[in-house]
Symmetry: C2
Subunit: 258 residues, 2 copies
């Protein structure tokens, strides 16, 4: 299988750097092909702006969506953006590895999403009518591919528990899982999360690698998070709210998981 690792950490000798190397080696040893987008090493341009297109639609006004659509449709995107899109199309599974900084992905990776997720590629795909509101949330360009987050957190596991002060890790990651990965079609696997990173020692590192290896060995068989499909009948259109008979007792993020 083909795996793309999108990786963001500024220090190659860090825990994240070691786990990146372990992941590549482990997958290659099992016979898989691996490509790595090491965003810091690539000096990835984080800020989406008018320079992301080689020839703009309207040089007097930058519209992030329309300029992205124009550039994507006409082969006018920056080369770095087009290359990352081709890696996404190549991959069967994409792993996003990053340290949790201020309860989300590092800015450099957020900027990868903003720039690579072009209009016509990751959003603005498919028809809009009374029964189908675009190819998104379970459909889209990346449908049939799998994605998994691999996240390190300085905080302790109980701080991220159901009643922990940071909020539950599944809720903190929901905007990424659902809004960034499920949106353009990925099947989203449960995340691999490492807590309390300052206390990792050789013993616990070995345990982490063993568990990570198991997750990598089962990337293709692990059951994805059961996010509802937007156009599968559970939502009204165009209000895109859950129909009254669907999980009537639930509100919030949890209602969008079967």
């Amino acid at each position: 299988m083909k795996v793309l690792l999108v990786y963001a950490h500024p220090e190659p000798k860090s825990l994240n750097g070691s786990l990146k190397n372990f992941t590549i080696q482990h997958l290659q040893n099992a016979g898989h092909e691996v490509q790595v987008s090491d965003l810091y090493a690539m000096n990835w341009k984080a800020a989406l702006d008018a320079n992301d297109s080689k020839s703009r639609l309207d040089k007097t006004y930058f519209d992030a969506s329309l300029d992205s659509q124009h550039a994507f449709k006409n082969g006018l995107q920056s080369d770095d953006i087009a290359l990352e899109q081709s890696k996404l199309l190549w991959a069967d599974t994409v792993i996003f590895q990053f340290p949790l900084w201020w309860f989300s992905m590092p800015a450099i990776m957020k900027g990868w999403v903003e720039r690579v997720y072009a209009y016509g590629f990751a959003y603005g795909v498919g028809e809009h009518n009374d029964s189908h509101w675009g190819d998104r949330y379970g459909e889209g360009t990346l449908a049939g591919k799998r994605a998994m987050l691999m996240v390190t957190a300085g905080g302790w596991q109980p701080h991220y528990s159901a009643r922990g002060i940071n909020g539950p890790i599944d809720d903190i990651l929901f905007p990424i899982h659902h809004g960034i990965l499920h949106y353009p079609g990925f099947d989203v696997l449960p995340p691999f999360v490492i807590y309390h990173t300052s206390k990792v020692n050789p013993d616990s590192y070995a345990t982490i690698c063993e568990k990570l290896g198991q997750r990598l060995d089962t990337l293709w068989s692990t059951t994805p998070i059961a996010f509802r499909q937007q156009n599968g009948g559970d939502y009204t259109i165009p209000d895109l709210t859950l129909k009254p008979d669907i999980a009537p007792e639930l509100t919030g993020f949890a209602a969008h998981i079967k």
Copy 2:
């Protein structure tokens, strides 16, 4: 009063650009002092890295936290970082204005948080003991100041409702409200959110400005979101989970609001 507007949008003639100008004018007309950090105009460096310090602790290994602490303590931070910290200390209220891109702030603003929120400034502040786990979540360097998000979203309001497909807007913004603003001490005001931005016309723009003006006029009297204080007795230490008798029926983000 003194207001800092941290603003991220790549197009000055956009809806966001107009609302930024309206905000500055409205506040100045009312006699307030305003500073603006226009991140795109400043060409703000988004990616946190080893260059954020003028002289590193250990040139062979970059530790994001320890290098930040060393640079902050010894006056070795990049000038751009120190300048933004001085603006935060100057302000009574900080408004963060941005378009919601992929369910969070733009990368360039996330990078502002990561770089300006130094160890010793926004985290790693205060003592850790049996009854006090650092000055955070309601205490800290920015305690006594107010913060408000001003957010534009392309999606429709029902898509962000309690059972809307994107998830409730309050939950989507929780990692920012609680994890980025309440954490270093801000009192966090309810957000000002504009939905369905592609349909804004002169009439609805006038209505938006009227409502925004009301929010700006009441920045100092609006009741903040009632986030619990970490060290106020509601949480166990060091597990930082809610005590069994505190909102026993609740889990998730909502449990952290009184």
